[in-house]
């Protein structure tokens, strides 16, 4: 019942966000707003999937593939943020942990020429270390994790960019970007096939690979850890009520550090999945921007109701909308509208407790009327 209401309120947030998007499109160009704007925006990859022209060309699933590939890292950062939330911590440092994860993956792939699983492990490890730092600061010095996370985001970004630019095995000066993993070291690419099924070929999109399966499996593991284990029990107890957890003899310092380590590892893993998919390149000269995937994680976690399985769906949805944004008629509608919509949805998510309360009341009133009617009939 409670979960149902929470899901409904999330869907209401999405609908209101989309409605706002529609209004905006109508303001920009009322005549084409539906056909060239709103329809490709919300159908996104689905619009091409069933289009006969695209089917004939054999590329009809490509956009869906792109959605999945883009969803992988933000599902992971979403899990990262959600996991820390359960402990009552706000991991705004997912972007920094993601940056470190990307560096770990690329260094192992480009410089050390390691196979993909080593690269992925390195990404996870560096993310974990970057998550541990604010954890240590919080546990032992009571420094607010939000502040230390934000600072570590920038320290991580500038550190990574400086090292990358000075390493000619990583930095391709002619392109002004990091080398492509797929070109330099094919063994570092995450496998395309599982059990004989070539995911990449199915979608006809190189970056779509078994990474999405990793992401789903990890979400399920996180769900089990949170709900079935003593560790998850302790973690949530600390998150709900720190004082009661301490009273119960739970070591909250240890749990704060562990939660941040795991949270950081998840973000780092997500970066590994993304940068080892072959096509994307790190741009160390673009030094003013933290990777958006880190902050999208907050969106994903909130929209996914801080639930690991919810994160899978919300990650896919946000990726869906942002791919849809690029599919609108670009000469009329800027693709940033999709970001505006996700921004609005997150904003609405912040009000979702109020909405849940109203919905609960509505349901209760409805039940009561039904109950009274039944009584009278008897």
């Amino acid at each position: 019942m409670k979960k149902g209401i929470a899901i409904i309120s999330s869907i209401v947030c999405i609908l209101v966000g989309l409605l706002f998007g529609l209004i905006l499109l109508c303001i920009i160009d009322p005549a084409d707003s539906i056909s060239l704007g709103f329809s490709p925006l919300i159908l996104s990859g689905l619009s091409t999937a069933f289009d006969p022209n695209w089917i004939a060309a054999g590329t009809n699933l490509m956009k869906l593939g792109q959605e999945i590939a883009n969803a992988m890292p933000i599902i992971m950062t979403g899990l990262s943020v959600a996991f820390a939330f359960k402990m009552g911590l706000f991991n705004i440092g997912a972007a920094g942990q993601y940056t470190l994860g990307a560096f770990g993956a690329l260094y192992c792939a480009l410089v050390l020429k390691c196979p993909w699983y080593v690269c992925l492990l390195a990404a996870t490890l560096l993310g974990a270390i970057w998550g541990m730092l604010p954890g240590l600061l919080k546990a032992y010095l009571n420094i607010n994790e939000v502040i230390s996370c934000i600072m570590l985001n920038w320290i991580g970004l500038y550190g990574v960019n400086t090292i990358m630019c000075s390493n000619d095995k990583m930095f391709n000066s002619s392109q002004a970007k990091a080398y492509q993993v797929g070109v330099v070291n094919k063994s570092a690419l995450i496998p395309d096939s599982i059990f004989g099924w070539n995911i990449s070929e199915t979608f006809n999109y190189a970056a779509t690979n078994t990474g999405i399966i990793f992401a789903v499996v990890i979400a399920i593991i996180i769900l089990i850890v949170l709900n079935k284990t003593t560790f998850g029990y302790e973690l949530k107890a600390c998150g709900y009520n720190k004082d009661a957890a301490k009273y119960a003899g739970i070591n909250d310092k240890r749990n704060i550090i562990l939660a941040m380590v795991i949270s950081g590892a998840l973000a780092g893993f997500g970066a590994g999945l993304f940068y080892l998919s072959g096509t994307v390149q790190w741009n160390p000269l673009d030094s003013t921007a933290l990777p958006a995937a880190g902050f999208d994680g907050i969106t994903v976690a909130l929209l996914g109701l801080v639930n690991p399985i919810g994160c899978i769906f919300s990650g896919l949805f946000i990726s869906h909308i942002s791919v849809g944004g690029t599919m609108m008629q670009q000469s009329i509608f800027p693709s940033e509208i999709s970001q505006l919509i996700t921004g609005l949805i997150v904003y609405l998510c912040a009000f979702s407790p109020i909405m849940q309360e109203k919905l609960t009341k509505l349901f209760e009133a409805h039940k009561k009327i039904k109950h009274d009617v039944n009584k009278e009939e008897k």
Binding site: K228, T229, T230, F231, Y233, K236, A237, Y240, N241, D243, A244, A245, K246, Y247, A248, G249, I250, N251, K361, E364
Partner: protein, 514 residues
């Protein structure tokens, strides 16, 4: 000419799911002290909040001097000369007494404060009603009793003639209570009308002229105090006969379970030590009570014993094991149970369900977990057993979210958990705070049963009735030191009050307690 200064007629107030007030009528005569009696959750506070303008009634009317009035907010109430002393005082701690009294109605000429004028009016009022204050003292430095007098003066300064006292005696010593009672009587004879909210029958019997009783949101009736007895009132309040006096056998203390030796603990709030060189012990089969006014180091003492905070120096021994530097978990697993003072802060994870709260310290035991996975079936079964055994009322059994349970049942759940751990030492702090008479009766019996089954019990209580009723041995704590030790059968509340306020003290040495 209206006989009644305030009439609340047919007042109803609904909250989602409950009727907090159901057709309540309250009539306050001019110059009387009218008690409003009811258990927790009976609707007293809601009714007073309506009178004070914090809530609007869904049905019913309020009349002042026979005229219907609408009170939309506390300012309206103030304009109608209705004033209230809240249970937790609303004072600016770093302001002087004088500044606090005039705050909000500062006398001024063109924006310039006229303190001298205010001062003379306050001193006049203070003299007239016998409310001794020092107008230049800073509020944080004065006693709770004086803070209350400041609150009363605030009402008088605003020329209020209807005065509401919300559980005014909860924070006072016996001496201060007596003084308050005489002040209230004096105010009434000077023509002020007083509404006195309380659940302490003895106080109502002493001071009130009439008493209205609420039960579960409904109006039960109004009685003249001279025509009734404390038993009669309690029957009206609870709806059944309640045993006010606990049947208790003589204690038979056995060996020492907890030994506290020269314990010194730093204060939570200031730089001073809250507990200074305290030594005592608790033996098997006895209830030892630490009595004292709030804030004299009891909280810090218990935190050090239970491990929530570290002591500065001193030694703690539990069942002959030195636990001075052991963790909370170690103490809990080696025979210490703790019913904490603040059940919402320490005792429960409100968003966990009942079953999860029942195993709050024990989820790691093999009975409830395996390879790091919690055995939810076993947890649920155990919780259901305790729900049965301790009569915890909850909507959805073991799966009830604890936040949705009533305070009394939350407390019962904690008590069930702590007692069923089968401890050697049961530490219980204010176990009945904010609970109704029925629940108090139950909890006192449960604690007594534990004593009789050979547990050592350390009780901290601010309620003197509870201290006198329950304990075998009383230690009085004043400013971080133990200043008196008594057998409960050999001491009266007046004497305890003298020790609690520091007016008297004995030298308690380690040897004396042995």
């Amino acid at each position: 000419m209206a006989d009644y200064v305030i009439e609340m007629l047919g007042i109803s107030k609904y909250f989602p799911g409950i009727k907090a007030n159901d057709n309540i009528t309250l009539q306050l005569k001019r110059g009387e002290i009218h008690a409003l009696l009811g258990e927790n959750g009976a609707g007293k506070s809601t009714l007073m909040s309506i009178l004070f303008g914090l809530y609007q009634p869904d049905e019913g009317v309020i009349k002042k001097d026979g005229k219907v009035v609408k009170i939309n907010n506390p300012n309206d109430a103030n304009d109608l000369r209705i004033g209230m002393v809240h249970q937790h005082f609303k004072l600016v701690e770093c302001y002087s007494v004088l500044d606090n009294i005039i705050l909000g109605v500062e006398p001024n000429v063109a924006g310039i404060l006229q303190k001298q004028e205010a001062r003379s009016k306050i001193m006049e009022l203070s003299e007239k009603y016998g409310l001794q204050i020092d107008p230049d003292a800073i509020v944080e430095n004065i006693t709770v009793g004086m803070q209350q007098r400041v609150e009363i003066l605030k009402m008088l300064y605003r020329d209020n003639d209807v005065l509401i006292f919300d559980e005014p005696t909860a924070v006072l010593t016996p001496q201060e209570i007596t003084e308050l009672m005489s002040i209230m009587k004096k105010l009434a004879t000077e023509g002020k009308s007083i509404l006195f909210i309380s659940h302490k029958l003895a106080e109502i019997m002493t001071v009130a002229d009439r008493c209205s009783v609420l039960r579960k949101g409904k109006y039960i009736g109004t009685v003249d105090i001279k025509d009734t007895t404390a038993e009669g009132l309690s029957t009206m309040m609870v709806g059944r006969k309640v045993n006010l006096k606990l049947e208790k056998k003589e204690a038979t203390p056995g060996e020492v379970i907890l030994d506290v030796n020269n314990l010194t603990v730093a204060s939570n709030s200031s730089k001073k030590d809250a507990v200074k060189n305290v030594s005592f012990n608790v033996k098997r089969g006895e209830i030892v009570c630490i009595a004292g006014i709030e804030g004299n180091g009891q909280a810090e003492l218990i935190q050090a014993i239970t491990g929530l905070s570290k002591q500065k120096k001193g030694k703690l021994t539990l069942c002959d094991k030195d636990i001075s530097h052991e963790s909370i978990r170690y103490r809990s697993e080696h025979g210490m149970s703790h019913i904490p003072e603040d059940r919402h802060k320490h005792g429960l994870v409100l968003d966990y369900n009942l079953a999860q709260n029942i195993v709050l310290q024990r989820y790691r035991e093999p009975e409830f977990s395996k390879f790091g996975f919690i055995k939810f079936d076993a947890v649920k079964k155990y919780a259901e057993k305790l729900i049965q055994k301790f009569d915890v009322r909850c909507g959805q059994g073991a799966e009830t979210i604890v936040r949705s349970m009533s305070g009394g049942n939350q407390q019962k759940a904690i008590i069930a958990r702590e007692i069923d751990k089968n401890p050697e030492l049961l530490i219980t702090v204010q176990p009945t705070r904010g609970l109704d008479v029925g629940a108090i009766e139950y909890i006192h019996k449960a604690i007594l049963e534990q004593r009789d089954s050979g547990k050592a019990i350390l009780l901290v209580s601010l309620e003197l009735d509870e201290v006198m009723n329950l304990s075998d041995r009383i230690l009085v704590m004043y400013e971080g030191e133990l200043v008196g030790e008594f057998k409960s059968s050999e001491v009266d509340t007046e004497t305890l009050g003298l020790y609690m306020t520091g007016a008297k003290r004995d030298n308690i040495t380690k040897e004396a307690t042995k």
